[in-house]
């Protein structure tokens, strides 16, 4: 009896040992997802008072009226606009730099690389403060344009990194083959380089969009009285948090997961069809 029990104990200790990393990993995953669960649950809350931090009772009021709070949906649409323009700007400028870095030789390559790398190695608050110093010195009116300028600036480096990785893994002979087959520089770029680099450009653009849309620190410094969605959330943390921000947060999470799942499903179906 005793030996059997100790053997049983031994096997369960062994099981634990073998799966320790899985257990620890899942714990971390839980840690990462817990706030999203809370955000979702509290989007159905009916809080007393101005803050939505304590559970009171179930209500779908906020879901039926997501724009029911003054300025919320306005700030959301402003953030979307800024994110779209910033994505466009940063992607075009960043992709151009990435192509130049990978495909051409030129002087001052090291300096260019450092200039790309530094914004990523700089605390946001430093960039935010110095950019504000510039705008104040120049007497620039803070608002939409200063936010957009700032966003393109800090998204740029990330786009360069993403596109560079893709272009670097691309065989330069493909472009040579295109030129050899009567495609001029423009045709080569449009017919060969761009389609092959597209996944990298898309990844860079997606990253830029996410960074811009969610940026708070740099925007906080350079927005003046303009209110983006993160600025709205920040302000509401001081004045009172409407349930609607949880609704928006939950909706964004769900839409993002669904989009990713859908694209994966399409991708795998395409793969299966081809095979």
């Amino acid at each position: 009896m005793d030996t059997r029990r100790s053997r049983k104990l031994g096997t369960s200790v062994n099981w634990l040992k073998r799966h320790l990393v899985v257990i620890a990993g899942l714990f971390t995953l839980g840690f990462l997802l817990l706030p999203n669960v809370v955000v979702t649950v509290f989007s159905f809350n009916n809080p007393k008072g101005r803050f939505n931090y304590e559970w009171q009772e179930f209500s779908t009021a906020a879901w039926t009226d997501p724009c029911g709070v003054a300025d919320l949906c306005g700030s959301l649409s402003l953030s979307l606009q800024i994110a779209l323009w910033a994505t466009l700007g940063a992607t075009v400028l960043g992709a151009m730099i990435a192509f130049a870095l990978v495909r051409y030789r030129f002087r001052a390559r090291g300096a260019v690389n450092s200039l790309i790398f530094l914004p990523m190695a700089m605390p946001e608050v430093v960039m935010a403060a110095s950019l504000l110093t510039l705008f104040l010195n120049m007497g620039v009116q803070l608002g939409f344009w200063t936010i957009l300028i700032a966003h393109i600036m800090f998204c740029l480096s990330f786009v360069v990194t993403a596109v560079k990785a893709r272009v670097m893994s691309m065989d330069p002979r493909l472009e040579e083959a295109a030129r050899d087959l009567y495609a001029g520089p423009f045709q080569t770029f449009v017919r060969v380089t761009l389609p092959i680099a597209a996944p990298g450009i898309a990844a860079g653009a997606l990253l830029a969009f996410a960074l811009s849309f969610d940026d708070f620190i740099i925007t906080n410094f350079n927005a003046g009285s303009t209110v983006t969605f993160p600025m709205f959330v920040w302000g509401s943390a001081q004045r009172g948090t409407p349930v609607q921000i949880n609704v928006i947060g939950t909706a964004m999470f769900v839409v993002a997961v669904l989009l990713v799942l859908a694209s994966m499903a399409i991708g795998s179906r395409r793969k299966r069809q081809k095979a």
Binding site: D171, L174, E176, R179, D180, L181, Y182, A183, I196, K274
Partner: protein, 381 residues
């Protein structure tokens, strides 16, 4: 038809390429006649690919001129040259299917109805069924044929092939060599083929240029290069050569008599690329398969007039069709001898004393000022 069409001639005149202080190709003059199958052979880094890329327009020559027929194309970008390339590892466009890969050149030149041409071309390379597949779904050999089709459909004046068979396994490579040769004969286009594989160059090409360190060492028909190499590099890079240091003794008619160790060797003077002043040093070369081997006891049976060397067998390896011997001789260590396995002499084992003999007509003479081992390393690689 006209008597002699020279519009497909490739003429390089004084062409060179330097990168900073590194010279990839020294000033080079080369003429590839219309319709010939020309191979640039050499180890990696010898400048053969750079030369090819200058013909394609992918590389700007530092000096010199490229002519296609009578036209100076040096200033033309690749997309304006009537030249197409089969790239190393093919460079098929991964985002386009086979049909679109082959149609690429036609479409860029504004050809409207490409369907018939592309289908014919795919049939020629036996890939009609695969038209709608993506390149990564094809095998190596199939991809190679797509690359050839993609280039040939444009009816270039010259087709450039950059190590086109390098990625294939040995068996497929042999098969594709014959296939490419067949296509070349059929379409009659000038082929310029870059390879590091000497067997490949010799099987396929009418003319081979052996390149080393940015220079053409020797140019000629494959058998001419093999039988009568003019530099140690060519002698060692194409197959194997035994090179023996000797000194010019006398000249007898068309022959030169040389002293090597205690013995004498005879060499036809037209087969000697070195100066033949009496007392001058010459490297005497002979291919391993030209040498006959007899046991020292039978030395008397060797006919007169043959070059002979004595030695002992250091090593013998049986490789089926032949046996390869390594012979140590007082005048030259490690001579290679290949003997066909017709009737094997049981006495020819390591340690046995032997006499090597061969016809003077199979002897060649090289300038002794060269590195005697040039080209041996590369050959092994």
């Amino acid at each position: 038809m006209t008597t002699k069409d020279s519009s497909g001639d490739v003429r390089l005149s004084g062409i060179s390429k330097t990168y900073g202080s590194f010279t990839a190709v020294h000033p080079l003059d080369l003429t590839v006649p219309q319709g010939s199958f020309f191979a640039l052979l050499g180890a990696s880094g010898c400048g053969k690919t750079t030369t090819l890329r200058m013909i394609a327009g992918l590389e700007e020559p530092t000096s010199g001129t490229v002519f296609l027929g009578d036209q100076d194309v040096t200033a033309l970008p690749p997309y304006k040259r009537p030249v197409n390339t089969v790239f190393q590892s093919y460079a098929l466009f991964p985002h386009l299917d086979i049909f679109e890969n082959v149609a690429f050149g036609l479409r860029r030149r504004g050809v409207k109805s490409v369907k018939k041409q592309v289908e014919e071309m795919l049939d020629l390379v036996q890939l009609g069924e695969q038209a709608r597949k993506k390149p990564h779904q094809l095998s190596g050999g199939q991809q190679q044929r797509v690359a050839v089709a993609r280039a040939l459909i444009n009816h270039p004046k010259v087709l450039l092939l950059d190590e086109p068979l390098g990625a294939l396994d040995l068996k497929l490579r042999r098969q594709m060599q014959l296939e490419l040769k067949r296509i070349q004969t059929e379409v009659g286009i000038t082929f310029v083929h870059v390879t590091h594989d000497q067997e490949e160059a010799m099987t396929m090409a009418d003319t081979v240029a052996v390149m080393n360190a940015g220079r053409v060492e020797q140019l000629g028909a494959p058998d001419e290069l093999y039988e009568n190499p003019r530099t140690t590099f060519v002698a060692n890079f194409l197959g194997t050569s035994n090179l023996i240091e000797a000194e010019v003794d006398t000249k007898a008619g068309d022959d030169i008599v040389l002293k090597a160790g205690g013995g004498k060797l005879t060499l036809p003077s037209e087969r000697c690329s070195a100066s033949t002043a009496t007392g001058g040093k010459v490297l005497v070369g002979v291919r391993p398969e030209k040498i006959s081997l007899v046991h020292a006891d039978d030395a008397g049976e060797i006919p007169d007039g043959r070059n002979r060397i004595t030695g002992t067998i250091a090593d013998a390896s049986f490789i089926g069709v032949s046996t390869q011997y390594v012979i140590d001789s007082p005048i030259c260590p490690e001579l290679a001898v290949y003997v066909q396995n017709v009737e094997r002499d049981g006495r020819l084992t390591p340690g046995a004393d032997v006499v090597l003999h061969w016809s003077p007509a199979h002897t060649f003479g090289l300038d002794a000022a060269q590195d005697i081992d040039a080209g041996t390393e590369e050959e092994a690689a």
